[in-house]
C-alpha cells in the first residue's frame, strides 16, 4: 500500500516537473475592443433603479458563449444612449450632482471611444433641463448621418437640444410645447408625438435653426387606444403599436409625417380574449418586413407594462401575424439583431438577457449583473 502510494506520488512529481512555470504577467494590462463592433454586439441600458446615479450601458456579444460581456460605460440618472454609425463613438446623455444626490447639477452628453471605452469629450447642456425618464431610446437620437445628436428636454416644459456632435457643439434648442420624444424624420429633422394624438415634425439646417414645422391631424386616440411611445423603424417608416395591438405605421421619410393605414395584430376572437402588447421595449423588426411584438392574453387596464409570455411575428406587407412563439421566460423588452444568423435579444421579466434564434429556439441566457435592469436594448446601427 505504501509502495503504491509512493509510485503515485513519484508519478505526480514527474508530471509536475514537466510543466513549465506560469510566466510573470504584465501589469498594468487593460483590454481593448475593436474600433468597429461586430453586428452581433448589443448595448443593454441598465437603468439601475436601486441606484439610479450608477446606471450603465453594458456591451455584450449575444452570439458568444465565452467572453460575452465586452465592457460597460457609466450612464447616470435616467441616462440616454446612442451609438454612432459613422464615427467610432458612443454617446451617453446623463446628469450629475456635485455631491452625488444633491448640490450643483450638471447635464452632459459624454462621448466615448468605441475601442478604448475611454471618455474622449463631453458636451455640457447648460440649461440643465434634460428629460429624465425610465430608459427610452427616443429621448436621444442621431440624425443626418449621425452628425446631429438630439436630446429631449422636459421640465415639464418640453424642447429638443440640437448638438453638432461631430463638432461637439451645442447649436440650438427648439421648444416643443405639448409634444414628446424624438423620432428621426426626413433629411435633417425629427417628429414628436403630441397629447392630442397628432404628430409635429421639425426640420432644421446645419446651424440647428428650424427650417420647417409640420403637423398631422390626430391619427390615434390617446384616450381609447394610445400608441406606445417606443416604435420600431423599418427604413424611414416608424411602426407604432397601440395598447389594443393595432399597428400604426408612420412614413417619416419627408418633412411631413404621413400616417399610413392602421392594421391590427389581433383577430376579433383574439381581441375578445384581450390579447395585447405588454412590456417595455415591446416591438422590434428585422429591418425588412417583419415585426416582433411581446403579447399577452387576458390583458386588463394597467397590464401593459408587465411583460408577456408570447412573442408574435407579423409581416408588414401581408399585415398578418405569421408566427407566434412562447419564450422560455416572459419577455419584457426585445431587440432584433442582424447577422449571418439573425437573433432576437430579449430581456426577460427576471432581468436576464435571453437570446433566441429566428425560429424561437433559446440559444443562451446571460446575466448582465446581479442588480442589472437592462430595460432598453440597442442593436448595432
Amino acid at each position: 500500500m505504501i509502495n503504491k502510494l509512493a509510485i503515485v506520488v513519484a508519478g505526480l512529481v514527474l508530471a509536475q516537473a514537466a510543466l513549465p512555470e506560469i510566466p510573470i504577467e504584465r501589469i498594468p494590462n487593460v483590454a481593448k475592443l475593436p474600433a468597429e463592433y461586430p453586428e452581433t454586439w448589443l448595448f443593454a441600458a441598465d437603468a439601475n433603479f436601486h441606484a439610479l446615479i450608477a446606471g450603465k450601458i453594458i456591451i455584450v456579444d449575444i452570439a458568444a458563449d465565452i467572453h460575452e460581456y465586452k465592457g460597460a460605460i457609466g450612464a447616470a440618472q435616467f441616462a440616454t444612449f446612442m451609438e454612432s454609425s459613422t464615427r467610432n463613438e458612443l454617446y451617453v446623455g446623463e446628469t450629475f450632482y456635485s455631491r452625488g444626490t444633491v448640490g450643483e447639477r450638471t447635464d452632459v452628453v459624454t462621448i466615448y471611444d468605441k475601442a478604448t471605452l475611454e471618455k474622449t469629450g463631453e458636451v455640457v447642456l447648460p440649461k440643465k433641463n434634460r428629460g429624465l425618464f425610465v430608459t427610452n431610446k427616443y429621448a436621444m437620437q442621431l440624425v443626418d448621418k449621425d452628425r446631429f445628436l438630439l436630446v429631449y428636454n422636459f421640465t415639464p416644459a418640453s424642447s429638443v437640444s440640437i448638438i453638432d456632435i461631430a463638432a461637439k457643439q451645442l447649436l440650438n434648442e427648439i421648444a416643443l410645447p405639448g409634444c414628446s420624444m424624438i423620432y428621426p424624420t426626413g433629411e435633417r429633422g425629427f417628429s414628436s408625438l403630441c397629447g392630442d394624438g397628432s404628430m409635429v415634425s421639425i426640420q432644421f439646417d446645419k446651424q440647428g435653426r428650424q427650417t420647417s414645422k409640420n403637423l398631422t391631424e390626430p391619427f390615434f386616440s390617446v384616450d381609447d387606444d394610445p400608441i406606445f411611445d417606443k416604435p420600431t423603424y423599418i427604413g424611414k417608416t416608424a411602426y407604432f403599436v397601440s395598447y389594443k395591438a393595432r399597428i400604426y405605421p408612420v412614413d417619416l421619410s419627408t418633412a411631413q409625417p404621413k400616417p399610413l393605414p392602421m392594421w391590427s395584430l389581433v383577430s376579433a376572437a383574439e381581441e375578445a380574449q384581450n390579447w395585447r402588447p405588454s412590456g417595455w421595449q415591446i416591438i422590434t423588426d428585422d429591418n425588412k418586413d417583419t415585426l416582433y411584438v411581446i403579447m399577452h392574453p387576458d390583458a386588463f387596464d394597467g397590464s401593459h407594462k408587465s411583460g408577456g409570455e408570447h412573442i408574435w411575428v407579423a409581416n408588414t406587407d401581408s399585415r398578418k401575424v405569421v408566427r407566434r412563439f412562447q419564450p422560455e421566460d416572459a419577455a419584457f423588452s426585445l431587440e432584433f439583431v442582424s447577422g449571418k444568423s439573425p437573433m432576437l435579444a430579449v430581456t426577460n421579466v427576471n432581468m436576464w438577457l435571453d437570446v433566441y434564434a429566428e425560429d424561437g429556439a433559446l440559444l443562451r441566457t446571460m446575466s448582465l449583473g446581479d442588480s442589472a435592469m437592462p430595460l432598453a436594448l440597442h442593436s448595432k446601427r
Partner: protein, 178 residues
C-alpha cells in the same frame, strides 16, 4: 510536499464544509461566491399584501382599507417606484430629508371601502438615493409620455432642488366625479 498536502487537505475539507452547512453556504453564496442579493420573494406573499421583512401598516384613516406597505394597496393603482411608506415616510408623506415634488402625475383609483374613485396624486420624494424597499409598479390608466400628466415613466422629481428619485407617495386630492 507536506505543506502543500496540508493545504490540499484543508481545501478539500473546506469544500466539504461548504456543501454540508446550510447557513454558511448561504454566506458563501452571498459573499464568497457572490450570489444574488436576496432570496426571491415568494410572489404569493407579495400579491397577498406586503413584502417580506417590511412591517405592515394601516393608514389610520376611516374608510381607507389595506396596507400602505403593500403593492396592492388601493391607492397605488398607478404607482411606479419604491413605496415611501417602506422608506421612512407614509403613503402620503416623504421620508425625512427628502423633498416632495410639487408637480406629478395623477391617477384615479377605486377605494374598495366606499366603492368611490379617488383622484390620487403620485408625488415623488427627491434628493436622497433610491430607497430600495418595496418596489411597486402598477399602471391603471397609465398613458405614454406624450400624455405626461398620466405617465409614471417620467422622473417626477421636477421643480425640486435635486432631481434624484428616492420613493413615491400617493395622496388623495379629490373624488372622481364621473
Amino acid at each position: 510536499m507536506s505543506k502543500f498536502d496540508g493545504l490540499m487537505e484543508r481545501s478539500a475539507r473546506a469544500v466539504a464544509q461548504r456543501t454540508s452547512r446550510r447557513s454558511v453556504l448561504a454566506g458563501i453564496s452571498r459573499l464568497l461566491f457572490g450570489a444574488a442579493l436576496l432570496p426571491v420573494l415568494p410572489v404569493a406573499r407579495a400579491a397577498e399584501g406586503g413584502y417580506p421583512g417590511v412591517g405592515k401598516q394601516e393608514s389610520g384613516i376611516d374608510g381607507d382599507p389595506g396596507d400602505p406597505t403593500s403593492c396592492d394597496y388601493w391607492r397605488y393603482c398607478a404607482i411606479d417606484g419604491f413605496l415611501c411608506s417602506c422608506c421612512g415616510g407614509t403613503a402620503n408623506a416623504c421620508p425625512p430629508g427628502t423633498e416632495m415634488s410639487p408637480i406629478t402625475w395623477i391617477g384615479s383609483c377605486l377605494n374598495p371601502a366606499d366603492q368611490k374613485h379617488y383622484i390620487v396624486s403620485y408625488n415623488d420624494c427627491c434628493g436622497k438615493t433610491s430607497c430600495g424597499r418595496c418596489l411597486c409598479n402598477r399602471n391603471e390608466g397609465d398613458k405614454p409620455v406624450y400624455r405626461p400628466q398620466s405617465n409614471n415613466d417620467i422622473n417626477w422629481c421636477l421643480g425640486t432642488e435635486s432631481t434624484i428619485y428616492t420613493c413615491s407617495t400617493a395622496s388623495i386630492i379629490g373624488v372622481a366625479t364621473d
